[in-house]
Amino acid sequence: MLAVVAGSVFPLYWSLVVSSQTSEAVAQVPPVLIPGGHLFDNIARVFDTTDFARALLNSLLVSTSVTVSVVFFSTLAGFAFAKLRFRGRKPLLVLAIATSVVPQQLGIIPLYLLMAKLGWTDQLAAVIVPGLVTAFGVFFMTQYLGRAVPDELLEAGRIDGCTTFGLYWHVVLPAARPAAAVLGLFTFMQAWNDFFWPLVVLQNNATVQVALSSLASGYTTDYTLTLTGTLLATLPILVIFMVLGRQIVGGIMQGAIKG
């Protein structure tokens, strides 16, 4: 079991090793296996070579706005599916879940045409807007709210004269907090790590993954530089994972039981 974990951690450790060495030290056989003292030189080089600061900021903006929106709209839709009675509820829910198997990657050509028409190419909106609410989020929240919010609480709210949206705001949102945290984490990580669509639509206004891929795509790749970029791009996610890993693991396992 320890070997399995070592195997899964090693490549990340390795990127730390390479990014803290000089280029000469990396081109050695046998390879150097411990970190050196050049990490900060290499980080400075990354920021000099590409507009990495801008890319980091772009990714932060995209991931944050997508996360807030996904949590809000998924909880709203999840509330309706789990707790409200309306005609067509079941088929609509099935439809929402079914949408998650549609291979969206294959629709990128018209999506690109659409963005060009809207004048959104090279604008962050092109990446943010399509991700504002996800099927996974809706499903996840429907499952959670079904158990977490007692019907009596909602009825009591109604008797007190709450509107439906009032119930959402005052009863459902507070109750949804633990699940919202997990969903928010997943969404943030996914948005941060997204690559293919930003690559297509944001050629001159890169997010961090796109910037990283262009660092790596020279004809002779400078690996100390590239792996330093890798480390920088992974670091925010890694910090989140270190702090909230337990919730993330729990969230995956919870989602799995119902999935």
Partner: protein
């Protein structure tokens, strides 16, 4: 309107309002593009300018069927998909089995197993591409220690497929293991106790109880891995080390999705690329269904 009428409208009508954003966004940015891809694929749509296109009917599909690059890409996709999915799911089952025992530092172990999955495709592929380097790569160095000569991983078909499969499998094994683990924990304990009384070994318990009980989960992961695996394109794009989407000098590791990207966004042949997209969609659907039937069958036989 009277107050009760208003509140009736609120209870009857507002649920639709709450689920509307999802369906609107999915319709506009998920479903519409996919359907519109079908329309574009019947056109000669060569310019970035959206207005200029001519209807050509099935010409793009005819060309596709006779395009050796497409068949090559499809073959590569299937090869990489098989090489990554089968070992990955088996390993995930085994890891889940290990994790299911009472272990110390349970959470840390689970986090360690999941770590690859939270790392981006780009980061993972770059790190592995460095490790698979011909001259100074760690993997060739390790192979050298056991007397195997250096492999030029990018240069050959089999080696590049193997390397890309390792990258994919590394990223997803832990995730699948956690999904299996979750289902394993839902298996009633008395099943094992009864088996124990009947003298079943641990291996027999795994095959006769665990695997059949996990059947729905195994089917789920197999189908999901198929849908994802047949769309692989970021790994082969980045594994080339340069920004060319040909998947190596001889297209030895160009996948179908990467071929679509090349035709669409490098050659700007939107119509042709759309035909690739729809064909690939069809292939994915066929494989997902076949996979579903097959895994159901296999899991059945265990019972």
């Amino acid at each position: 309107m009277t107050l009760p009428a208003l509140s009736r409208l609120d209870t009857k009508g507002s649920p639709y309002l709450y689920v509307l954003p999802f369906f609107l966004l999915f319709g506009a940015f998920g479903l519409f593009p996919l359907i519109y891809t079908g329309y574009v694929s019947f056109n000669d749509w060569n310019l970035l300018d959206a207005g200029e296109h001519t209807w050509v009917g099935l010409a793009n599909y005819r060309e596709l069927l006779h395009d050796p690059y497409f068949w090559n890409a499809l073959g590569n996709t299937l090869s990489i998909w098989l090489l990554s999915t089968v070992p990955q799911l088996l390993a995930a089952l085994w890891i889940a089995h290990l994790l299911n025992h009472r272990l110390r530092a349970r959470t840390s172990l689970r986090m360690g197993v999941l770590l690859p999955n939270i790392t981006s495709i780009v980061a993972v592929t770059i790190v592995f591409t460095q490790m698979f380097g011909r001259d100074f790569g760690m993997i060739n160095w390790l192979l050298g220690l056991i007397g195997v000569g250096p492999v030029d991983w990018q240069a050959n078909t089999w080696s590049s497929h193997l390397a890309i499969s390792v990258i994919v499998a590394w990223r997803w094994t832990g995730y699948n293991a956690l999904i299996y683990l979750a289902s394993m924990q839902a298996i009633p304990h008395d099943l094992y106790e009864a088996a124990e009384l009947d003298g079943a070994s641990s291996g027999q318990q795994f095959r006769r109880i665990t695997v059949p009980q996990l059947r729905p989960t195994i089917i789920f992961t197999a189908v999901i891995s198929t849908i994802g695996g047949l769309q692989i394109m970021a790994e082969p794009l980045l594994f080339a080390g340069t920004s060319t989407p040909t998947g190596g000098s001889d297209r030895q590791f160009q996948t179908a999705a990467l071929f679509m990207y090349e035709q669409g966004f490098r050659e700007f042949r939107f119509g042709y690329a759309s035909a690739i997209a729809w064909t690939l969609c069809l292939v994915i659907a066929v494989f997902a269904v076949a996979n579903y039937l097959l895994t159901r069958r296999i899991a059945d036989d265990e019972e």
